[in-house]
């Protein structure tokens, strides 16, 4: 089983991964959007000042500038809060990045409601939905800081085209290591089980593991799957899980519309329908509060996963 090696913000993984891939690949550039240290690009800017370009608060420009650089054989990363990175420049991402199909890597920081006290304006809860609908886009949503580092490196080594990498600010359990093979597009079975599959992404993966521990006491053997790549999604693994366990609960720190739950439902409804529940942000905006207070209030905890599993596996 996995143990928490210490709570760490997933943005730390992005910070370290970016420096590591930039050390290996001289074409990697970093574009700053004024919040360089807040989104984990400060270390890159310090180590590679000649490859760091500041663009200020101008997301539309930064996205299309990145496209121009990628059209010139560079691999630019730009990072800002996920709300702005995906929505303020959605048209530039759609046309200049995705339709051109160029290797621009977008760091979506402050993902999820766990951003906390900044409130709804800064809580990216629709980013997966927006990004996964764009042709040619790869969407990564790693589960902890270690995996975010690996995913950031993989966004260059394994993905030829555009890539969105989602990560958060608050400190959450860091529990995976490099021995866990990371293949873009392949889900990871973190715990085998036969009664239900909990398919989770991002911070909710740890909650899913906690839920599985609790369910064991209730004699429910839950399988836990980490979907770190929302697009292209691991269709085979999801169908296999449905066939094996006959019930699916998804969990994500994102709106219930258009995120991981929707992606899983799109597959199951067409190829192997089984009873399913989606744990995610209800159709509303967030608010200010501490990360754990917000996760509790909006139903994004192991407890909520357990309730949904019980609903499916032991219906009243």
């Amino acid at each position: 089983m996995f143990t928490n090696k210490g709570n760490t913000a997933t943005k730390i993984g992005f910070r370290e991964g970016l420096v590591e891939i930039a050390s290996e690949n001289k074409n990697v550039l970093g574009l700053g959007a004024d919040i360089t240290s807040s989104v984990g690009m400060d270390l890159f800017a310090k180590k590679f000042p000649e490859r760091f370009f500041s663009f200020g608060i101008a997301e539309q420009n930064i996205a299309a500038v990145a496209a121009g650089m990628a059209l010139s054989d560079k691999i630019p990363f730009f990072s800002t809060y996920g709300v702005f990175a995906t929505l303020r420049c959605a048209d530039q991402i759609r046309i200049s990045i995705c339709y051109n199909n160029v290797p621009v890597k977008i760091g979506g920081a402050h993902a999820g409601i766990s951003v906390g006290p900044d409130g709804a304006t800064h809580q990216a809860l629709e980013d997966i939905s927006i990004m996964r609908t764009l042709p040619n886009m790869t969407v990564l949503s790693p589960c902890d800081a270690n995996q975010t580092k690996i995913a950031t490196i993989a966004s260059v080594k394994q993905v030829n085209g555009p890539c969105y990498i989602r990560f958060g600010r608050a400190e959450f359990p860091n529990f995976t290591d490099e021995n866990l093979e990371f293949i873009v597009g392949k889900g990871q079975v973190l715990k085998k089980g036969s009664d239900v599959s909990i398919i989770a992404t991002g911070h909710m993966v740890w909650e899913a593991l906690e839920a599985a521990k609790f369910l064991k006491n209730k004699s429910i053997n839950a399988q836990v799957i980490n979907i770190h790549t929302i697009k292209p999604i691991d269709k085979e693994l999801i169908i296999e899980a449905a066939k094996k366990t006959g019930a699916i609960v998804t969990a994500e720190e994102h709106q219930i519309y258009g995120g991981l739950g929707s992606a899983v439902a799109e597959i199951l409804s067409q190829y192997y329908p089984v009873p399913m529940r989606i744990v995610g942000m209800p159709d509303c905006f967030g608010e200010s509060g501490k990360p754990n207070e917000l996760m509790n209030k909006y139903g994004l905890t192991a407890k909520n996963i357990v309730q949904n599993v019980m609903d499916l596996v032991h219906p009243l």
Binding site: N61, G68, S72, I95, Y99
Partner: protein, 272 residues
Amino acid sequence: MLDVSILEQKAKEIRIDVIKSLKEAGSGHLGASLGLADIFTVLYFYELHHKAGVSDWHARDRLILSIGHAAPVLYVSLAHSGYFHPDELKTLRKLGSRLQGHPALCYKLPGVETTSGSLGHGLSIAVGMAISMIIDKTSHKVYCILGDGELQEGSVWEAAMSAAHYKLDNLVAIVDRNEVQIDGNTSEVMDIENLEEKWLGFGWDVLECNGNDIADIIKSFNIAREKTKPVVIIAHTKMGKGVPEIEGNYKWHGKVPNSKQAEKFIDAIINT
């Protein structure tokens, strides 16, 4: 000594092929393509360092057509430069064609540098390319063609600010100042004046020329090449230039001629 009359003849041929391809397509934007024919002639047959046979030549100048709806004049200029056979112009806007309604990189038409068609992206892309050239220590240039109506997009000014910030002396923007857009005159739809002061205020050098006068366009490019910061050429053009009966008429922004009109328009071009 450069013979301007040869380029003027080339501009006529480009206009004629623009009309023919749009007539064949049955839809598209005639006005801007005709208005820009002289500028494209100067770019492809005088100004740009490019090799038609080697469209991925690393040291080429880049031309970014930010107003993707002027695709026909780009396609015709590329065909006349030898990037592909002019017969392919007949496929414009048709199913399976490399000549998409707005330029699209993924169809791999030689000479197309980027996808465009959503206004307000091109100058940013040009900035990204210009910075990349500086990183690579190459001495070629990026040219970006903007529409005057397009300057209403705020993102253009984000890009302008960043070009001046990075002192991009390898970037030349050309504004197609035809003073009209789909809804009417730019001064009525959303006034963009005073244009010269705006660009100067954003830290650019500004040149003006008659964008339908080959000699004047060449003069501007010769000056622009020597500038040590980003430079914009405000090129005063007439939408539909070359066909007197439609010149300056904004209704011809997104219209194409039928067979009879096309014949008449081509006659008008030949006889001027």
